[in-house]
């Protein structure tokens, strides 16, 4: 094995580990900020880790009618999300495994995880699982093309589909100041909210099965299986936010592997993700959840914006 490949694998392991470690903190931070906006104290910042530890210690309970699909679901979902963390640039303007593929591989990987979870939800035959899966797919069918078009708009400005090369180009060129950037950002921000199950689309804290989307899909899971799903969802949220800040605001990202730029990049990344998390919290706190039939309208707005972002670059 060549030295480059060794370096890439080492970087991928480090990056995946770092994202896995940081993700529960992001979830809890958003919960905490939301609680403070409602004049509540909120959970301690480490609550996400306590919850995961608690779930991982519990015994596994599975429905008698379920098959291997049900067991495989959370594992595939977790694996795809971990794979996705290695396909995006986080601290360095290069993705560890960028040689394997770019935007299409990232979107496809995330889609595979969603497919695995939806089939697993159908497997038990529980009506809530089926309902959740059907709803999740309805939204995904609109959100996925919007995600692709929004990312293509950025790809067009740099002339490459590879996320690592793309961010490097964006840093070298400087900001392009094209209306397409803002349109794509607005479109992708709506997608992030829809894909991570945040309020105008889905309520992550709901206990009412009839209004659930993502929660309804994983209603049957318990113990370590549930821990995998929750953890993967948190990492997915972090992946989306990281992608957004690094594509549209690649300020402070490290161009070399020296300690000082890396430290600056770490601070810049944490700060930018935090700012975006504040934006997500504000949207969540100031909006009411949409009726399910209104959700496709919201997602179609983002599809429109993403399409326009792409079209405007040719006009």
């Amino acid at each position: 094995m060549s030295a480059d490949a060794m370096l890439a694998i080492g970087a991928a392991l480090l990056q995946a580990g770092g994202m896995l470690a940081a993700a529960p903190l992001l979830r809890t931070a958003i919960k905490k900020m939301k609680a403070r906006l409602q004049n509540r104290q909120g959970p301690p910042l480490l609550q996400g880790y306590y919850d995961l530890a608690k779930l991982l210690r519990k015994e596994t309970v599975r429905s008698d009618t379920s098959s291997w699909v049900y067991v495989a679901g959370p594992r595939i979902y977790f694996a795809t999300v971990v794979a996705a963390t290695t396909l995006i640039p986080v601290l360095v303007a290069a993705a560890p495994l960028e040689a394997t593929g770019g935007i299409l591989l990232l979107v496809g990987t995330l889609a595979l995880g969603r497919f695995a979870l939806a089939t697993a939800a159908l497997d038990t035959g529980s009506p809530f699982g089926g309902m959740g899966a059907s709803r999740d797919m309805t939204i995904a069918a609109l959100a996925e093309p919007a995600l692709m078009l929004g990312l293509f708009s950025s790809a067009l400005s740099a002339g490459t589909m590879n996320l690592g090369v793309l961010v490097r180009e964006l840093v070298l060129q400087g900001p392009s100041w094209h209306p397409g950037d803002l349109l794509a950002f607005a479109g992708l921000f709506i997608i992030v909210i829809a894909e991570t199950g945040r309020i105008p689309v889905d309520n992550p804290a709901t206990h009412l099965e009839l209004t659930m989307i993502h929660e309804a899909m994983v209603l049957e899971y318990a113990g370590p299986d549930l821990a995998l799903v929750e953890w993967a969802s948190a990492v997915k949220e972090l992946v989306y936010l990281t992608l957004l800040v690094n594509l549209f605001l690649p300020v402070g990202i490290a161009m070399s592997l020296e300690p000082v730029p890396l430290l600056v990049a770490l601070v810049a990344w944490a700060g930018k993700v935090f700012l975006l998390a504040v934006a997500v919290t504000l949207v969540e706190s100031t909006n009411a959840k949409l009726r399910l039939f209104r959700v496709p309208e919201l997602v179609s707005v983002s599809l429109g914006l993403a399409f326009l972002a792409l079209a405007i670059r040719f006009l």
Partner: protein, 215 residues
Amino acid sequence: MTANVLILCAAGMLVTAYLMVGQKALFTTIRLFGLQSLLLALVAATIAIAESRHELFITAALTVTLKAILIPWFLMRTVDRIGIHREIEPFLNVPASLLICLGLTVVGYRVSTGFQEGAREVGHHLIGVALSLLLIGLFMMVTRKKAITQILALLTVENAVFLVAVGVTSGMPLIVELGISFDVILAVLLLGVLVQRIVGRFESMDISRLSKLKG
């Protein structure tokens, strides 16, 4: 730098217009219009600083106080008083409206290349966005049923005209601008009263019911 801020603000105005088309809650639509006017004021202020045209500061101040604060406040009060908070099903559903608006934006951008100013980088985007806003505003006026949304559509068209006047031409005389500002506020006041009368008569803001007034 100036050009970048101008393009960013113009793009922001286009985004707010799209969000307005995709919205049915009246309060959010009114707030989006306020944001759009704020961005317009930012365009005027940026040009005022860059080209040291001080009269544009007055334009910016007028835009902020009238269109970003006063008119949204007045419209929200009207909505609160009549107690109707949502747009009913428009003549065209949201995805179809968005598709048409996409087409309108493409038309606006293509047409902007025909202007002499539209050949330059900034002028191209400013005229393109302004024409798109104009067409989207007209389109919203035709397809929405609520009187409040129609007022907002009219104001969007007004914003579009203002964007071209401020951003591309050397600007209107101050007296004309003042006149237009008072025209707009008078129009909104009158339309607000008209809305309340329509609601009082039909217990709905649906202007398609006005055709029942025919004998």
